[in-house]
Point group: C2
Chain length 586, copies 2
């Protein structure tokens, strides 16, 4: 294998053309080896194999600095920069993350996992280089749908003022995660159709120099281009046309499905199924919204480029027609747009990943909450998880619940979730957010309220005494277990409360607990700092009630197994009861 | 006066051309009457008088809906839509806010005060109209620097896909707050220079139809254009060239200084001075950064279009040359750019308004905090204030302090502030934020630490017993008063603590307080929910310590006088002591 000799980008430079072509093939196989066994980003990485080889052949990383946008297309880069074992050897898979990571290699400049950031970040590198009087090349690699994000635009706008070396590679593969949406992608098509010659050119309109590479999977064409612009003295956009998923027919043919994949059979492309066959909360959500939209023309379903994680399938999207929109990677627009829709009498429902909601804090606050427009926002994947550090879902409670006027709800079972969703869509008073349960689907044999307009009313699910457990959303089931443990181990008949509302406290219920309770335990699936439990603790601050808050620590965790995290944060019934008793019995 | 007859846009439609020209003059005088006596946005409003008359003459508000970006250019709109007394009669000034406000009038569609939101919001209105089968015109008025914000770009990108009536008026006055910066403004200049005929056209590249109005202060030209495009069946950009500050020579000549003004002498333009002649914290900051940058070429000062509120004067900016940048309205870029600068060895300092920091939450978290790059962010105007609801500074603590890795500092006097700033710039370990004191400048006669790298160490300024007052940043002085009040009224010798760090608690100090204190009082200049005090309360949750948190309620307040707010939130020494004693002596 050629790859045997490649341990550093320097090794690339010794290869002849034929060897480099072979290397591209081997890199593709290495990528497919990992993603088929381990899951991961498939299409983005297969598309940029030649681009990555050409960049490392022409430039001198890490002195020259390459910043990958989103960085879900960094696998070839990792293979070339000393981390090939993470792709060849299953035992090493977990040592190499799916995103760039400075802790892994000096060739990775930033930890990146959200989109549209590369141009601004690289702009900063370039400016610092200038201030220091250095002269390395700075290269941002953006594309794969990332151009539609506002941060990318702000970066391009400012890059145009940088009077020095700066290379922006736009990897145009004609698709985001789902098909591209938005006016800018029409201009990219025009540029592809005219081989970069059209006068009306988005990048030139942004004040940037521009060149076009017709076949972005042609290694020699890429090398020639990069050799020409290496050490250029001003910012330039290199627009290259690549094939997402290049090299595997079933992937090239179904780009959206192969953006990311769970493990699959390499021969056939058949996914190795994991689920238990039961529908998930997101699948049930899609079913519900489908029926809702079909019966009410004012219902509008919106997602910012994450139709896949919400189970808005291509059929769902096609069938809903005008009542569905994927706005592309444009979270700010998604929220402001929903506010406008609600203001003019429509019923917008935005589905968004907990971590990506961070991109729209100001829109939640200013465009939506100050205006009190009744849009509904479904937050998926909220909760402590073993995901990459860039995709953690444990910050949305501090983020959203401290904005006035927002009603953020935490359902604890299927019936409650859909009752809240129905209420949220039909009510006209509040921006309503719902934390879609991050658990398997549960059904509770209890009466579920239909109306949530009497805000911040907690539900006492089981009345007891001495200890009250306030168990929020995903952690309601943990609350049940804590109650059982207290009964079995300490013969305490605890009260169990489903607070339902994240954004406010039920002062009446909390006040009454003082009568026959000494201890309150709060459980939340997120960080404690700025979260739900602290509001309860503040209420009891000057009273005799003892309050214990359980949740995650404020820290960035990275691909830590969930059971380790639960142990670390004491989020098991045994550890909780033992913590509480240690203080009480002291 | 023509204005006497104008109580509604319908009244406009009865005027002939000559009367409308007179009306424009009268509206200018009304604007100048208000801003010269009351302060406010001067240039933006003087520039759009003709535009506003033309819009209301041609379209039928409120059925047709006009959304003003930032809405600091809505004064003529307010004058036409029944609120002229707020401009003519000083006693009515306070009844009319400086921004659009649906509570004031059905002609105001949204409460707006941050930039770059109009296209997305109006897109939502247009889509809702389509879903309902209605046919009103939807108009977004954007410009005055707002185009550089990412949200505007996301909106334009999505507007291009709206297959129905949508009118985007781009008010191009060739200046933002400070002079425009960024590639897009070069294209606007090209379009002005070619009277809209250049082939390379940013808006067309975004997939939008386009027309150009050469003289955007020519009423008849505007009316003709709007009559032509009224009821258009697809999205179109109307690019109009206006003169910011039109009609007053000294304003037209000095556009930046007259974007917003305190009261001034109408004849001469002389500002009616308010300050006591002493330098403010922001002026001292500019002085400090100037010296710092002059002595170290790696220091880079950055602001997103708010050089004015940071006292980065035109001279300061010119003198710093390459070491200063106003990135325009582009908060996301400002933070990501700073992260890149820090990564490559420069020393970036970003100055930003507390309220505008909301636009860069994800950049703080992902681009900066996860990467732990040592950029410094100075947050100005943080604290409870009597400002417009869209510019409140009381949310930055919950926003920033619950993001891991960030060190957010709250200085309590001049020496401490500059020691923290010096440390922040020179250290290499953390993203450091500093809440620039929102108070008059105070100097303390105490030793100030130079090194803040031993995180979360609180400073016990005065040792006492029974009650401990933890007084954060701006409220340190209030803490001193509470201590005095406790001594005088209750003969309690309280402990006074300057916590300095917003982002973490000093467990050692808090633990030791248990020995001879029964009560802890926390004081913070911001909302309590998700804030500083709750972290202290959580620490003591399971102990016998009584904790009282003082700060603002989680709510949107709008131009409420500060003393009213302090009374409402019990933020005076008398109310605090009385609250605490009421519980203790119960």
């Amino acid at each position: 294998m050629i790859l045997d000799k490649i341990n550093d980008p320097m090794d690339l430079k010794k290869l002849n053309n034929e060897e480099m072509e072979l290397l591209a093939e081997e890199i593709r196989n290495a990528i497919l080896n990992r993603v088929s066994k381990n899951g991961g980003h498939v299409g983005p990485n297969l598309g940029v194999v030649e681009l990555t080889i050409a960049l490392h052949y022409v430039f001198n990383s890490p002195i020259d600095k390459i910043v990958y946008d989103v960085s879900h297309q960094c696998y070839p880069h990792k293979i070339i920069t000393g981390r090939k074992e993470g792709f060849l050897n299953p035992e090493q898979f977990n040592k190499v993350s799916g995103y760039t990571n400075p802790a892994e290699s000096e060739h990775d400049i930033f930890k990146v996992g959200h989109t549209s950031t590369s141009v601004s970040l690289a702009c900063g590198l370039a400016k610092a280089r200038n201030l220091k009087g250095d002269n390395e090349n700075i290269i941002a690699v953006i594309g794969d749908g990332s151009l539609s994000g506002g941060e990318a635009f702000e970066g391009l706008d400012n890059a145009a003022e940088l009077n020095s070396n700066f290379i922006i590679v736009v990897n145009d593969n004609d698709i985001s995660i789902a098909p591209n949406y938005g006016g800018i992608y029409k201009n990219l098509k025009l540029l592809r159709d005219t081989e970069g010659k059209a006068e009306c050119n988005f990048f030139k309109a942004m004040g940037l120099d521009y060149c076009y590479v017709k076949d972005g999977n042609n290694l020699q064409e890429l090398i020639k281009t990069f050799e020409k612009i290496k050490d250029i003295d001003h910012p330039i956009v290199v627009h290259i046309n690549t094939v997402k998923g290049k090299g595997k027919e079933y992937i090239e043919k179904n780009k959206e499905a192969w953006h990311w994949s769970v493990p699959f059979d390499l021969e056939t492309g058949t996914r190795i199924a994991k689920g238990n066959g039961n529908k998930t909360y997101t699948q049930l959500t899609a079913d519900f919204l489908y029926e809702k939209a079909k019966s009410d023309k004012k219902v509008m379903v919106i997602t910012p480029a994450t139709a896949n994680i919400l189970d808005f399938t291509p059929e769902f999207r096609k069938d809903l027609g005008e009542q569905f929109i994927d706005v592309g990677i444009a979270e700010e627009h998604a929220i402001a747009y929903a506010s406008g829709l609600a203001k003019n009498g429509a019923k917008p429902v935005v589905g968004i990943h907990s971590s990506f909601m961070q991109r729209a804090y100001d829109q939640l606050s200013q465009d939506l909450a100050i205006n009190k427009n009744p849009a509904v926002i479904l937050v998926v994947r909220g909760g402590i998880s073993s995901s990459d550090v860039t995709h953690l879902g444990m910050f949305d409670i501090p983020l959203a619940s401290n904005i006035p006027n927002i009603v953020y709800l935490a359902p604890t079972c299927k019936q409650e979730y859909f009752a809240m969703l129905e209420w949220g869509i039909e009510q006209k008073e509040y921006p309503v957010m719902i934390r879609v349960p991050n658990t398997s689907v549960t059904e509770k044999d209890v009466t579920i309220e239909k109306d949530y307009s009497n805000l911040n009313k907690y539900k006492i699910e089981k009345r007891g005494e001495e200890v009250a457990i306030i168990a929020l959303g995903n952690f309601y089931e943990l609350g049940e277990k804590v109650k059982k443990e207290l009964k079995e181990k300490k013969d305490i008949n605890a009260t169990l409360i489903n607070p339902r509302y994240i954004t406010g406290i039920d002062e009446d219920v909390l006040e009454k607990l003082k009568e026959n309770h000494k201890i309150v335990i709060t459980l939340e699936d997120g960080i404690l700092d700025g979260g739900f439990g602290e509001k309860i603790t503040r209420f009891y601050g000057s009273s005799d009630m003892k309050v214990f808050n359980f949740g995650a620590k404020k820290e960035f965790i990275d691909r830590t197994p969930l059971n380790e995290l639960y142990t670390k944060y004491h989020l098991t019934e045994e550890l909780i009861v033992s913590d509480v008793m240690a203080v009480i019995e002291k």
